[in-house]
């Protein structure tokens, strides 16, 4: 048993900042930022073994509740927990208000963009958005041309990834407008925080996130003109890495969790097979990608979807959320144009900044990036999950050369961004506090009553030292996020 207090330990092993990086809790001289003082006071009074106990408690909590995701290796599927760090990330209300407004602005503009791009295409005719980005975009669905979804809403659920640079400014890294995941970790992380900090949490008036499922339900129901529409959540199934989330959301919303094989089409209407017989489905919150949604319209080999469902959707017999084809607005190439999109449709300046982005098909950009590769990251425009990236500061010459060879073959598939020093937040590691890079994903739900942003979100942590990759599949973890 280590009975020394945590503050003793921090004196022996002072917090070592990453170079030229904004830390969420500590000033560069290791003073505690005002918003974190109450938390620090609490933690520093605990003994090291008590801190260890809190950590163990959280691990057991996730295991016993079965809050796991599946990882595939050698054809075997292993259930893992998403590592949780007990120190919450705190966002002050004044910062939150900016984030919230910024997200509402972005999502509003991107929805107008989607409606335009699938209908009149004014933005292309006005030469604000290049036609090539539509024509060559694998996420653009011709099947959606000329179709306006109910209430003109495309992106009912979005998760906007936000990071902070070394000055503490917020930047949008990515708009996830397809089927963003992680929201159940936001909910579960709060549940565990309540248990870890019973003495300090209630006093702090932390904004509540626990009604997310209710708001989601109401927003989804608002899309239909029916009084009590039948809503289902469509999951790829038990072996999907986000299955726990699908099942949790279905349980908390009180809706059926269905797989493609539970649904069947009759006369362009969607039904689910129940023990009573067939029951008509009105709204589908799908967590299946566009490609797998309908083997007739998209990927023919898909067994996850429902043949003919797109036709039912276009005949307005069922509502699908998010609408098919939203990927055209959130891929890495369209991202570059979001500031122009906001300006074009809303005539407003963007509230949240974009990271400077270079298109590698542009030869000037290409040369610039090649010259300054050590300070840049190159991403595939259709990549996600942190795969297929080149981090210029850590790759060796051969890797870089190979990567540029790939780019030259199809330069429009790649973009580059300066490597930002993501802000860090202290984590309990090796019985002490060490900085680790974090990002932040708040969730916005768009329904007939407008856009609601849940006051909180998922803070993901890159648990490997000096790593910037926060994805759960690649050594990431998460923290609770308190908006105070």
């Amino acid at each position: 048993m280590d009975s020394s207090t945590f503050s003793d330990k921090l004196i022996d092993f002072p917090y070592e900042h990453y170079k030229n990086t904004w830390d969420e809790m500590f000033e560069p001289n290791n003073r505690i930022k005002p918003s974190y003082r109450f938390l620090y006071n609490f933690l520093s009074k605990q003994s090291v073994s008590e801190i260890n106990k809190l950590k163990e408690f959280s691990l057991k909590f996730f295991m016993n509740q079965g809050i796991t995701f599946n990882v595939y290796s050698d054809e075997q599927s292993i259930e893992k927990i998403f590592p949780f760090d007990i120190i919450p990330r705190i966002i002050m209300n004044k910062d939150w208000e900016i984030i919230e407004k910024g997200i509402i602005q972005r999502i509003t503009a991107l929805n107008l963009f989607l409606k335009d791009i699938y209908n009149e295409q004014f933005i292309i005719k006005d030469k604000v958005f290049p036609i090539e980005l539509v024509a060559n975009n694998p996420y653009f669905l011709n099947q959606m041309r000329g179709f306006k979804p109910p209430k003109d809403i495309y992106t009912h659920i979005s998760g906007v990834d936000i990071i902070r640079n070394n000055k503490g400014d917020f930047y949008v890294l990515e708009d996830n407008l397809r089927t963003p995941s992680g929201v159940c970790y936001m909910l579960e992380n709060r549940q565990i925080s309540r248990r870890l900090y019973p003495s300090i949490m209630p006093k702090k008036k932390i904004k509540d996130v626990s009604n997310y499922p209710q708001i989601l339900y109401q927003q989804l129901a608002s899309l239909s003109n029916k009084k009590n529409p039948t809503i289902v959540l469509l999951t790829p199934g038990l072996y999907n890495s986000a299955y726990y989330e699908h099942s949790t959301l279905a349980r908390l919303m009180g809706v059926e969790l269905v797989e493609g094989r539970d649904l069947l089409m009759d006369n362009n209407k969607v039904f689910m097979k129940t023990s009573k017989g067939l029951e008509k489905v009105d709204i589908i919150y799908r967590r299946v990608d566009d490609d797998f949604l309908d083997p007739i319209s998209f990927n023919q080999s898909s067994v996850l979807g429902v043949p003919g469902i797109l036709e039912a959707y276009k005949k307005r017999n069922v509502i699908i959320t998010n609408a098919p084809g939203t990927g055209v607005a959130d891929d890495k190439a369209s991202y570059i144009y979001v500031p122009q999109i906001i300006k074009y449709y809303l005539n407003e300046e963007p509230i949240l900044k974009n990271i400077e982005t270079y298109q590698l098909e542009n030869s000037e950009h290409f040369d610039y990036v090649k010259k300054n590769i050590t300070s840049h990251v190159i991403k595939k425009t259709d990549g996600s999950g942190g795969y297929g990236m080149l981090m210029g500061n850590s790759a060796d010459d051969i890797e870089i050369e190979k990567y540029f060879y790939k780019i030259k073959k199809n330069p429009s598939n790649f973009i580059a961004q300066p490597i930002l020093n993501l802000s860090t937040s202290p984590c309990i590691l090796n019985e002490s506090m060490e900085p680790r890079c974090v990002d932040f994903r708040p969730y916005a739900i768009y329904g007939a009553e407008g856009i609601k942003v849940c006051p909180g979100g998922l803070t993901r942590v890159a648990l490997k030292k000096n790593s910037l990759v926060v994805n759960s599949s690649q050594g990431g973890g998460s923290k609770d996020t308190w908006v105070i």
Partner: protein
Amino acid sequence: MLSRVANNLFWMDRYMERSYGLLNLIITNYNSTLDSGDYSSWNGILKTYMNIDSLEDLYEYDDAISIIDFMLFDELNPNTLINIIKKSRENARGVQEHISKEVWLSSNKFYLNISDRLIRKKFRRSDPIVFLEDLLNFNLMYYSNADLTQERGNAFGFMNLGKYYERTLQSVDFLSYRFNDLTKNDYALQESVFWKNLLLSIGGYQIYLKTYKSIFNVNNIVELISLNEFFPRSIKYSLRKLSVHVSLLNKYNNKIDNELLFHVKKLDNYVGYSSIESINEIELGTFLEKIKSDLNHIYSLITKTYFSQLY
């Protein structure tokens, strides 16, 4: 409720019930080998529960501890405890929105316990009976949680359908393979230990003593296990419960076509109006065979009615 979900709930409880039966059997058989030293008693269990024809197929398992270890932890045999619990829990994982949080947690905890890396080591170091009884507690926790927290309705109905279907089948199997012992081992008639263990392994020792006092004979045992309406593991009791839940499910799901209910009630009545004399007249083996074949038919009707209807 989705048909797929109903099917999962049915199997979730079938597997859970199977694990409960298996554990009880292992405990008492182990107990009895302590007295008799007769390892051949494992043969019947391995055959019925593990689909293994004889101990010789398991040459490396030559003592009770190794045999138990095999029945609990072998990953390759689909009928071992660990695999049954995995399947039960996998079914539970697929229907979390339909079972109470408590039921899910008790299933998950059972699974986590038995799939712990160190569990085999722990088994080798513990007294087997204490260890097995600890495992049995997970079953009891599961049942009490289901009883106390699960909403009465469709989900509860399908869980019970699985539970009582499996239990009926188990009691039939139990009598079938013990039937050989009962008739062959005449010498055992004198040995109260044999009877005691036999009854203990199906949880009927106390009720037997109350009903028949200390007079052990084959007829009384067959009567207790097949026809006693107060013994919760008897065929009669389990069938009655099965029929109650089929009626309820029919009601919940507005089923007008009552083919399933008809056949369950018919079997229920057949056993209900049987007596030990009528069983002896046609012989126990025939009696059990008839029940088993009716149960098979009932299972196909359950599937047809609830799990994979034709549209």
